[in-house]
Amino acid sequence: MNSDKITKGVLLLSSLLILFVAGGMMYSLVEGAIPAFKSFGLKFVFSNNWNPTEGKENYGALPFISGTIITAVAALLISLPLSFSASLFIGEYYRGTKLAKVLGTMVDLLAGIPSIVYGLWGFYVLRPLLIDLGLPNQGFGVFTASVILAIMIIPYATSLSNEIIAMVPNELKEAAYSLGATKSEVIFNVVVPSARSGIVAGYILSFGRALGETMAVTMLIGNSNVIPDSFFSTGNTMASVIANQFGEAEGLKLSALIAIGLLLFLITGIINAIGKFIIKKMA
């Protein structure tokens, strides 16, 4: 009897530990960010001047916030047709076949490639190709980073949406077929509408992934601390500026980088919560 209580206590404790870790992360990020917010207030979020020069120190995160959102949105748009096709291939056109299994495994393997390897491939294979196509800035920039990001997030959107697409009841599809609908008409008028929220949730989660990717983006975006003024100009994201400038950071600069980490934590947290909420509402 007593041992049962201890066991239950251990289970409870371990679960509390996770809550404690999450709460501690929030606390530490806020604590570390306080000096930056004290010095610059809300201007930290809305100023586009990032200047670490001593005496003229000023930290504004707007270039990185905008760079993050632009690259992630572009990555999502590029990945959309690809992961949507792959999930239709696996969940509808070739459902249950060996071919679908092979494709599914390969898409899953995309998630296993380390970010730094994507970065190398982008740097040495994709970038020269884009230079040949006439891309400015030696091929560095938002566009190049977005293309690599798009490939990286494909598996996250695909694996969720092909499951949801495969779950659409056969009766619904058969009813449409019996009315003389073609396969593509069934897909666009029956399958997609009834799997809609799952597909959307998959894209939201993959968008969350794109926001936080670091290494590949750092190696390709060109690392300039300005708001990107075109799709092909260089920039920096919140994650890449932390990776780039952390090495020599102390004092106010360190606090500014931690504050960027806090903002990134909050943004990805909100995006993920929305995605999970949609999934939960479906279930």
Partner: protein
């Protein structure tokens, strides 16, 4: 009458054409989707295989001058990535030691207390943790371990950041696996008067073992290639280091160093090839285990 019948036939022709078009489009785009994995592995093999040897696994990297000499005389760069391999092993093992017990026990708690407020809260928080960018976990480990505990960059700090990354994956997979075990097995054990901890150790964990292992291996394969959090925590080292309070290298950290050193840059391909091989092997093994139990 006949004109409207004609119209229907024409219409059907157009619809069938459209149907075919979409099918071809889906197949073509699906091939485009998976082509990067083929192209990336091809690139790594073609550019990296020559460098792979026993030396590459057993020796530490040359200094940049040695590499330059080898380059200028057209030889292969000597040395290897032994410090990275040992560092990766050290940090991944330590991260597993931290994350696996906490993750599995929490997963059991979630399974045993469905619908409870605290369980729901933990599940949601763990889901949110899963989405936290790895670089933020690096910042956290820097603030928690590097500054106050090890007074400098350390393998311990790297492990902590990796373990926070693994934790939610293990929690999730444990709960999902346990849900698939027939309730009756557990009830039978409880009916025999077996103490609760023995039910967990002798019934729940063994029956769900392969599922747990799959989750754990996938978690490990995810953190194996992580670079960003280690840059902020473990930093890197030119020598083999097994002291968890000292800066330590890792394979991805070495790739980053080679990439930034024009004399060493040739080593990125073989290092990446080795890293990819480890990640893919873990992935495939865990898939095999998962497939066998289904």
């Amino acid at each position: 009458m006949s004109s409207s019948a004609n119209l229907m036939v024409d219409n059907l022709g157009r619809r069938t054409l459209k149907d075919k078009f979409y099918k071809v489009l889906v197949v073509v785009l699906s091939i485009v989707t998976i082509s990067p994995i083929v192209l990336i592995i091809y690139e790594l093999i073609v550019k990296g295989y020559r460098q792979i040897s026993f030396d590459f696994i057993l020796k530490t990297p040359p200094d940049t001058f040695e590499a330059m000499t080898a380059l200028s005389s057209g030889e292969l760069i000597p040395g290897g990535i032994a410090n990275g391999l040992t560092g990766t092993l050290l940090m991944v093992v330590l991260a597993s030691v931290i994350a696996i017990p906490v993750g599995v026990i929490t997963g059991i708690y979630l399974y045993e207390n469905p619908g409870k407020f605290l369980a729901n809260l933990t599940r949601n928080v763990s889901d949110v943790l899963q989405g936290v960018p790895s670089i933020v976990l690096g910042l956290i480990a820097y603030m928690w371990i590097v500054k106050p505990i090890t007074n400098g960059f350390s393998a311990l700090a790297g492990s902590v950041s990796l373990s926070i990354m693994m934790l939610p994956m293990i929690v999730r997979s444990t709960e999902e696996t346990l849900k698939m075990i027939p309730q009756t097995i557990k009830e039978a054990a409880l009916a025999l008067g077996v103490p609760y901890y023995k039910v967990i150790l002798r019934v729940l964990i063994p029956t769900s073992f392969s599922g747990l292992l799959t989750g754990i291996l996938l978690g490990i394969s995810r953190v194996l290639g992580e670079t960003a959090p280690l840059m902020l925590t473990a930093l890197g080292s030119t020598m083999i280091n097994l002291d968890i309070t000292k800066p330590t290298s890792a394979v991805p950290l070495l790739i980053w160093e080679f990439y930034n050193d024009p004399n060493m840059v040739d080593l990125i391909w073989s290092s990446s090839l080795l890293l990819m091989a480890m990640v893919l092997a873990l992935n495939l093994i865990s898939k095999r285990i998962a497939a066998r139990t289904k």
